[in-house]
């Protein structure tokens, strides 16, 4: 089996897949803690559906690079959803449900009506759940992904302390002169970028898992923000790596394999947390 792995690793597309997978897993785990604690996870979920709808439009339009359409649409939705969600919580929730289900329905409808592809259900399935498509990435896509990832990581490191402040206690932060709204907006935009990135890897429906599971796992074990953040990044990278390797060796779909490993990891962390007596 090991020999088989070494043989696979000689193919550039396999190495690309691993690089991209690890970068995406790292990015998505970084903001996961904030997302979970701010109860923004539902926004992540809603956005992934929006991204699916946008992708459907892009694929029907036959765009050469569908990121050019998907990224702006998702970012704009993120900003709008956040605006809405802040004023009145319940209405915000409902708005997100409406938008996400609506985007899903329209996305599928558009693909169904306009698509010229012969394998429609295959296409839909792969946008929703991810596919082996990560193994067909070109070096251009890898570079795009790497650049976006570096931006996300840089943002996170530079604004880490501010993200903590607005996540822990937004009112206090605002009262003492922190521009919390500005940072919330930035967080929303970055989340949108991460979701679009992660859609390549695990598909629209499984993104939330990639964002939320490592954070939840780390929160079982550690109880300081810094440790939780680092731990969730490490766990996420490990799970992505293991998941991709398994999927290469066993021929399973990449996205669901990674998420399955994440779920398993959460189980382990949960038990660890219980053993440590919390």
């Amino acid at each position: 089996m090991f020999a088989q792995l070494v043989e696979y690793l000689q193919y550039p597309f396999v190495r690309y897949a691993i690089i991209v997978g690890v970068l995406i897993a790292l990015c998505s785990s970084l903001l996961g803690v904030t997302l979970v604690l701010k109860r923004f996870s539902f926004i992540g979920d809603g956005l992934s559906h929006v991204a699916f709808g946008a992708l459907a439009i892009a694929s029907v339009l036959n765009l050469s690079n569908n990121m050019l359409l998907v990224l702006p649409i998702t970012v704009i939705s993120a900003v709008l959803l956040l605006r809405n969600g802040q004023n009145t919580r319940i209405k915000g929730d409902a708005a997100i449900a409406m938008i996400s289900v609506g985007a899903l329905a329209f996305g599928y409808l558009i693909m169904n009506v306009f698509s010229t592809s012969s394998n429609l259900s295959g296409d839909v399935c792969s946008t929703l759940f991810g596919s082996t498509s990560i193994l067909t990435l070109t070096s251009g896509q890898v570079w795009g992904c790497a650049i976006l990832s570096v931006c996300v990581i840089a943002f996170f490191v530079l604004f880490y302390n501010k993200i903590f402040a607005v996540t822990f206690d937004e009112n206090f932060a605002m009262a003492t002169g922190v521009k919390a709204e500005r940072y919330n907006l930035m967080i929303a935009v970055v989340i949108a970028v991460i979701i679009v990135l992660a859609m390549n890897l695990v598909g629209a429906l499984l993104i939330s898992a990639l964002v939320v599971f490592p954070a939840l796992s780390a929160m079982r074990i550690y109880s300081s923000f810094l440790k939780v953040t680092i731990c969730s990044a490490v766990l996420s990278v490990i799970c992505a790596l293991v998941g991709i390797l398994i999927s290469i060796l066993a021929g399973t779909p990449v996205g669901s394999t990674i998420v399955a490993v994440d779920v398993l990891m959460f189980g382990i962390c949960y038990l660890c947390g219980m053993v440590r007596g919390r």
Binding site: L37, A165, D169, M174, V178, S224
Partner: protein
Amino acid sequence: MAYLTIRDLSLGYENQAILTNLDFTVDKGDYLCVVGENGSGKSTLMKTLLGLTPPIKGQIQWGDGLKINEIGYLPQQTIVQKDFPASVWEVVISGCQGRMGLSPFYKKEEKLTAERNLERMGITHLRNSSYRNLSGGQQQRVLLARALCATTKVLLLDEPVSGLDPKVTAEMYALIKQLNDEGITIIMISHDIEAAVRYATHILHIGGKVFFGTKEEYKKSDLGKFFLAQEGGGF
């Protein structure tokens, strides 16, 4: 000029006024206690002062060279999720954020401030503990240390002793008094009229009737006599 001047202030939510026509001033070194029944709008007043809730009408003027990012705040309930992972140190030093503008990392100055305030609140030994596992009294001290990181001038405290036992309550009052003696202006919301009259220099009573004046004037006023006569003095 006074630290804080309130002129003809009306406040509330979505144009539903809760309080109207408030007038009062707070000078440097004052200890103002805001008292009133549940739901009379004390917390709303504080949020309005801090700019978290827009006023419906009137003026809030911070003066005497005081900037909005030089105010410390202890919220009534910090709605932190029960399982929020944060160490005491992380919480306390986050109080420095307001002054830091865009600079991304804490420097020596901020770290020193945080350390000094941990010491001031007597919680240096809790530095690496997890905030969520602390007792109510300890959590309150942590939040007070955070507020002190944000200011050396004015503290706004929203019911700092709610939920604390009598002993810890007395300690907390003593601590706040000590801060006031050190020159920090205090604006505190309290349910405990007796303590308010004991520690404060000025009283603002809101609710059905509004009173503002020094505590001596309050003790002589009809409103003050009425509430102080009630057993325990609390609401």
